[in-house]
């Protein structure tokens, strides 16, 4: 499915301009156990619904940002810079 994704810098653009860079997950501490690292690297919620994702405006301003996007209907999404992620409604 094709849709328009919002870049916090450039505004609404064709999704083809962007690269999906994986789900946003909190990185474990270096002292954390092996299981938390494999979980961080390999496992995903992969929900039908809203979740936080990393996107990169590859064919545009090349900046990285966080999108809170619904994986069933992408028209419903919110894009913010990493430092503003706390302003998103849910995690």
């Amino acid at each position: 499915m094709s849709f328009m994704l919002t870049c916090p810098n450039c505004g609404k653009r064709q999704v083809g301009e962007f690269t999906f860079r994986g789900y946003f997950k909190s990185r474990p501490q270096q002292s954390d156990d092996f299981a938390s690292w494999t979980s961080y690297v390999y496992f995903n919620k992969n929900k039908i619904g809203k979740q936080w994702e990393w996107w990169n405006h590859a064919s545009g301003c090349q900046r990285w940002f966080i999108v809170d996007r619904d994986s069933a209907k992408s028209t419903d999404h919110q894009s913010v810079w990493f430092e503003n992620r706390k302003t998103l409604e849910h995690e």
Partner: protein
């Protein structure tokens, strides 16, 4: 009066084994279970059988994989497919017409050569061809140095080919029904119940069903189903698109894949070209097709076959692919919940695996032991960081 291939049953209160998902894998599992004498089995399908990936793939079969684990597993699948029409007494229109994987860069040619040698070592018919030999078998292909990615060589795999995917679904469904298995369409699972880390049953839109063993075989929807049991999976669900053209006289007698151009095509007995590409670059559960895919596909296929410049596209569609980090599937018990099994992570390579996936899943469920052929595809490998890197899993690199 024509005889129905499967009946509508009332949902019982209890089954020995419940299979969630009525695709080729779930139905094959049910069929092989019934052959092993396990008949108290229900297949629960939320829509209709074959609604998902089983009816949306491009029906290509092959076993020329890269890793030993992959080659053995898919070779078993091809061998089961070879006898399947006879076994199910149903014409699956299996055509072992041969399968080309074209290489357009030195890196891809060296990768294909590795695959050819690995295949030969394990007894799978697979070898390299140069452009002159390719041209003899595919007269319409452009092997000049004119295209952006000229054809340098190809991996040729004679046992590869195409089959009628709907027939595989229906054939397995009929076979399972004859063996005493119940197939329940329009039966949605809304809840998975466990008690003391042991499976109890599932809550469906038609009531609660208890069971001794439960297996999730729902490919693209696996994360959603397994989340009901509190199990997280290493999957990301991406759409994969395909298209079919109008019918043309027979001109393409082999399956052709180009990993560099991200395209594959074959011609059906009806003359239509069945075409597919790489996955959409972002996760999605919607199955709408895009103009971007059509444009990219057309541009790339014309580099190989300029003769296609006027063909008309009839339909375009998408299916869901549950991609794993190592491009290998999971067919495994889940240690956290006794009696719960997962068959998924089929990415872009699931349909060709259906018979082997069903056969081994059935053995796993019936005997409570994981067969050697699927032991590498455990769920725990991701917890233990022991991946099975199957980079040749998709016919086009992802």
């Amino acid at each position: 009066m024509t005889k129905k291939m499967w009946k509508q049953h009332d949902l019982k209160k209890h089954y020995d084994i419940v299979i969630i998902g009525g695709g080729a894998h779930g139905l094959a599992t049910a069929y092989y279970l019934s052959k092993m004498g396990v008949r108290d089995v229900a297949v629960l399908e939320a829509k209709y059988i074959g609604y998902g990936g089983s009816g949306r793939n491009t029906a290509i079969l092959r076993s020329n994989y890269r890793t030993e684990e992959g080659i053995r597993f898919y070779d078993q699948s091809i061998q089961l497919y070879e006898n399947l029409s006879q076994e199910l007494d149903f014409n699956l229109m299996f055509s072992q017409q041969g399968h080309f994987t074209l290489g357009h860069t030195e890196a891809s040619v060296s990768g294909l050569t590795t695959r050819a040698e690995n295949n030969k070592a394990l007894g799978v018919d697979s070898y390299m061809l140069d452009p002159i030999e390719i041209k003899k078998m595919l007269p319409e292909i452009d092997i000049s140095d004119h295209p952006r990615y000229p054809v340098l060589a190809a991996l040729y795999h004679p046992p590869g080919g195409i089959i009628r995917h709907d027939a595989v679904v229906w054939g397995y469904a009929r076979g399972a029904e004859q063996g005493g298995v119940e197939i329940h369409n329009l039966t949605t699972v809304g809840e998975i119940r466990t008690e003391k880390n042991k499976i109890k049953g599932v809550q469906t839109n038609r009531g609660f069903v208890s069971c001794n063993k439960l297996i999730s075989v729902v490919a693209g929807w696996s994360s959603d189903v397994c989340a009901m049991a509190g199990i997280e999976l290493p999957f990301v669900t991406h759409p994969l698109q395909a298209l079919v053209t109008e019918s043309y006289k027979p001109w393409l007698h082999h399956v052709v894949v180009s990993s560099n151009l991200h395209i594959y095509l074959s011609q059906t007995d009806r003359g239509e070209l069945v075409c597919g590409g790489g996955i959409d670059g972002y996760p999605h559960y919607g199955m709408r097709s895009t103009l971007a895919f059509l444009e990219t596909y057309a541009a790339h296929v014309l580099e190989l076959f300029p003769v296609l410049h006027n063909v008309k596209v009839q339909r375009q569609w998408a299916g869901l692919c549950d991609m794993t980090p190592d491009y290998s599937p999971i067919i495994s018990p889940i240690d956290e919940i006794e009696g719960f099994y997962v068959n998924g992570g089929w990415g872009t390579y699931g349909f060709k695996a259906s018979p082997a996936s069903g056969y081994n899943s059935a053995q796993m469920l019936a005997q409570g032991k994981v067969p050697a052929n699927i032991a590498p595809f455990s769920y725990n490998r991701f917890r233990e960081n022991r991946l099975v890197g199957e980079k040749a899993a998709a016919s086009v690199s992802n």
